[in-house]
């Protein structure tokens, strides 16, 4: 069982959260010339590596806020969490 520290509510069980995937993926900016390849990278292509992974979770059964979690995909150790709009890339 993961324990995730919601920056709004504190330490909570994994059961209260739903997963939102890689947090480093950025939607291409509107109004700019975008290649198909850029769209592929946004929609489909993922690094998904072993080790540290910055990802989105939603505190669905809590404050319902989206948060960022930095977690190790092999050990599940959570290094830090932050609000979704905090820049910690």
């Amino acid at each position: 069982m993961l324990h995730i520290k919601c920056p709004h509510c504190g330490m909570r069980s994994q059961n209260e959260f739903s997963y939102g995937g890689d947090a480093t993926v950025k939607r291409p900016e509107l109004g700019k010339e975008i290649s198909d390849h850029d769209w592929d990278n946004f929609v489909y292509n993922r690094k998904s590596l072993r080790g540290k992974h910055l990802e989105l979770w939603q505190h669905l059964s809590g404050c319902r806020q989206w948060i960022k979690v930095e977690r190790d995909t092999a050990t599940h150790e959570i290094f830090r969490t932050s609000k979704a709009n905090e820049d910690n890339s």
Partner: protein, 418 residues
């Protein structure tokens, strides 16, 4: 190679079975091969076997970081089926069913293929309609499918919950009678033994460190047991696909996720089919040892852990008990996890890449085991002929760019959603 037969069994009984040949050798890697297959799982072993058998390419090495049978080929729930609606999936899987039927004779190894049939349960009228449609599509592709009503299902699996006042009553089901199970380890060992006998080097405990690519062409592979010169490399590494793709500066439409399975304590024969719950994600069969073999959802977040987390297991088994209440009386014997290469449309990729001599076999999601022979056969063809076979043409990498997705389940790109 010694043939496995009743006569050899009797002959070897006189020496207390101490003088059997090793099933495969433990060679030191050579400096150069015609083809290197990375990943000694079911798909890698099958690929090497069909390269030798169908294409007469025997100067082949299989490089495996762990040991034969230690990955997903030894971690799955052994279900074999071809109950797909889309043509590409249906024809590919049904081709595989033919290979499964002949496998024990072909490999001279009893893989215990047991075509006991699979039933997908339906829990609403709408779901019955969807199953009728899928069943019709299957029949059009020459695959056996039978739509069962509630009473027909009750006759086959009376132990399921047929009470009226349940959240998900059983309306009926779709059955593929020719589907079934096989002994997963035997599949790996059988392919390994035959590939080895035809000259393939199976190199275990050998990790890939990097690739030699020059001018857009494969020149070699660097491993923990030395550098190997090779012109053609087949990548067959399931959940580790992203790690190797990163070494090749490729980003793929794949995420690595954890899938759990579990078995109960062994009990007397009670269930002689494979059954899936239609209102969630749960499947069950009974092994020859009597254990109930169960599985279901992904853990739901990117993972390389190869071990599971309790909330998902609890969720999956809740579905199981809703479907077959007697399961709540059983003790759990073992649980385990394997890492899946989840593709963004739920269908696999068997294709060439932009690097000449580099071939890709990945994206098997929940269904890698049943695809083992067809995957090996088509991947061997793709590598040997340097072009895809019509059976795996739909499994191209380019479909994510062109929009020709094979979304059998229509789940979209959120691979972690079950």
């Amino acid at each position: 190679m010694q043939k496995y037969s009743i006569f050899n069994l009797i002959k070897n009984a006189f020496s207390n079975h101490q003088k059997w040949d090793l099933a495969w050798k433990d060679p030191t890697p050579k400096k150069e091969y015609d083809v290197v297959i990375i990943g000694g799982g079911g798909h890698g072993l099958a690929t090497a076997y069909y390269l030798a058998k169908e294409h007469n390419i025997t100067n082949v090495a299989i490089i495996e970081k762990g040991w034969i049978g230690g990955g997903n080929v030894g971690r799955n729930t052994t279900i074999i089926r071809s109950n797909y609606m889309h043509d590409d999936n249906a024809l590919f899987s049904e081709f595989g069913m033919d290979l499964w039927r002949k496998m024990s004779q072909d490999l001279n190894y009893n893989v215990m293929f047991s075509p006991r049939g699979i039933i997908n349960l339906a829990h609403s009228d709408a779901q019955m309609n969807v199953y009728a449609r899928r069943g019709n599509s299957m029949r059009l592709n020459g695959i056996d499918a039978e739509l069962l009503n509630r009473e027909q299902v009750r006759e086959i699996i009376p132990m399921a919950d047929f009470s009226e006042n349940v959240r998900f009553p059983i309306f009926g089901g779709l059955m593929q009678p020719s589907a079934g199970t096989a002994r997963h380890d035997a599949v790996a060992w059988g392919y390994a033994r035959q590939a080895d006998s035809m000259g393939v080097d199976i190199i275990q405990n050998c990790e890939v460190i990097g690739f030699d690519i020059s001018g857009g062409k494969v020149e070699g592979v660097r491993t923990s047991r030395g550098d190997i010169k090779v012109k053609k490399i087949g990548l067959c590494v399931a959940g580790s696909t992203n790690i190797l793709a990163d070494k090749l500066n490729m980003t793929l439409p794949i995420e690595t996720h954890l899938l759990q399975a579990c078995v109960s304590e062994p009990v007397k024969p009670v269930l002689d089919r494979v059954v899936t719950f239609g209102a969630g994600h749960f499947y069950i069969s009974q092994s020859d040892k009597g254990e109930m073999v169960m599985g279901g959802d992904l853990d739901g977040y990117n993972s390389y852990a190869q071990r599971g987390n309790l909330p998902t297991l609890q969720h999956v088994l809740t579905e199981g008990i809703a479907m077959m209440p007697f399961l709540s009386k059983l003790k759990m014997l073992r649980t385990w996890g394997g890492i899946m290469d989840m593709s963004m449309d739920g269908s696999p990729i068997i294709d060439k890449t932009h690097i000449e001599g580099l071939y890709l076999n990945c994206g098997w999601c929940y269904g890698g085991f049943k695809a083992t022979p067809a995957s090996g056969w088509t991947f061997a063809h793709t590598i040997a002929q340097d072009r895809v076979h019509e059976l795996n043409a739909g499994y191209n990498l380019n479909r994510f760019n062109t929009g020709h997705l094979l979304d059998e389940k229509g789940l979209g790109t959120k691979t972690w959603i079950s």
